[in-house]
Amino acid sequence: MTLLRELLQALRRMLETIGAVVLFLARMLAYTPAALARFGLVVQQVYNAGTLSLVIIMLCGLFVGMVLALQGFDLLQRFGAEESLGTAAALGILKELGPVVTALLFSGRAGTALASEIGLMRATDQLAAMQMMAVDPVRRVCVPRFLGGVIAMPLLAAIFSGIGIFGAQLVGVQLMGVDAGQFWSQMRTSVEVDDVMEGLIKSSVFGVACSLIAVYEGFHSQPTAEGVGRATTRTVVISAVVTLILDYMLTALLL
């Protein structure tokens, strides 16, 4: 009986959290046009979320593409279809690895930075000070950071995919000896614009989800050193889980 009650309570808490997140998102979206008018703040956050993540994204993209080519070559060789390596690598990177790995890296690199920054603002009463000056902290602090992440993510994913395919070409053609013409022409004939769009849609959705989680966790963190640390950890964990669940649902939807 107590178990049932606890279960119900946990369910209720979960629903409350989801409701709070949705309301928070709605509040941020309501402020979005005003925030876009002051674009300088958003540019600053695109810099924080995007430009600073660029090096790690490019490095990881290169190696993901390279390892995919290596594994793909080994697999395709067993069927005697090495020429399809370009197609396999391009589709794998564009549709799955690009958006997902970018989202995971993003939540690790930019999401944690956002959550801890906003959490520390909360802990050092900066947010309360803003409120005292009749400045809405959601509007001034959260919305530009959220929009920065939303803008940065699809661009980061596109860069990741481009570099990844370059890496796959590097290993497949230069190292494993797949014919360069076959590699590119097979890729071009079987990859559709829809596949690129699928990656773009996915990374945009992940951008919204990861930025929202980071900003929400930071904004609602306990105003203590421990609370900020917990908010940072929760950001990474929840972002990763939500990204992978959303990835399955979007794939089922878009395929």
């Binding site: 810099y47 995007g50 660029l54 564009l94 481009g162 071009r188 004939t189 079987s190 614009v193 690129v196």
Partner: protein, 169 residues
């Protein structure tokens, strides 16, 4: 001030790189050529069966791509597939009595439309129809035809064999 300008510069660079990557993905990785506005003229062809032909499939003449399949619709009047082809403007000398067929590229490749030139002196113009068409070859039909002919042949031989034995006895 200097710092914000540095930030704006590197953010601009990042955005540029992102869009360049996207452009690279769309133009270099996919089969879509960059098109600046719609160009070319339309031809119509009706097929009994188009098999797995898709919108965007190439239209080739002597193996050279001269256009793309623009749209595919079902024509309820004569139960045929109405395929609209968009041919590039510089290939404007396709004889009137040319024929269009649905071919398969490679053994398992995608399907495309091949145009065989006719001998007429007048050329097809915008919105003209290609009268002579040949449907896609459906692999299953081909196999079943082959199987039935093989089975029929086998029965016949068996019948012949028995009659031959009968005569020797």
């Amino acid at each position: 001030m200097r710092q914000t300008r540095a930030i704006e510069f590197s953010t601009g660079l990042f955005a540029l790189l992102g869009f360049a990557a996207l452009f690279f993905l769309v133009t270099q990785i996919t089969n879509r050529e960059v098109r600046f506005g719609e160009s070319g003229y339309r031809l119509l062809a009706k097929f009994d069966n188009i098999g797995g032909l898709k919108v965007g499939a190439p239209v080739a003449m002597a193996g050279v791509t001269i256009g793309r399949v623009e749209s595919i619709a079902f024509d309820p009047a004569d139960f045929k597939a109405a395929v609209t082809l968009r041919i590039q403007l510089r290939y404007n000398q396709i004889p009137e009595d040319s024929d269009a067929s649905v071919y398969t590229a490679g053994l398992l490749g995608g399907q495309y439309i091949g145009i065989g030139p006719g001998g007429s002196e007048t050329y097809l113009r915008d919105r003209d129809q290609i009268e002579f068409t040949q449907s896609a070859i459906i692999l299953e039909n081909l196999i079943s035809k082959f199987m039935f002919s093989l089975a029929g042949k086998g029965d016949k031989e068996e019948a012949d064999g028995t009659t031959a034995e009968d005569t020797t006895q």
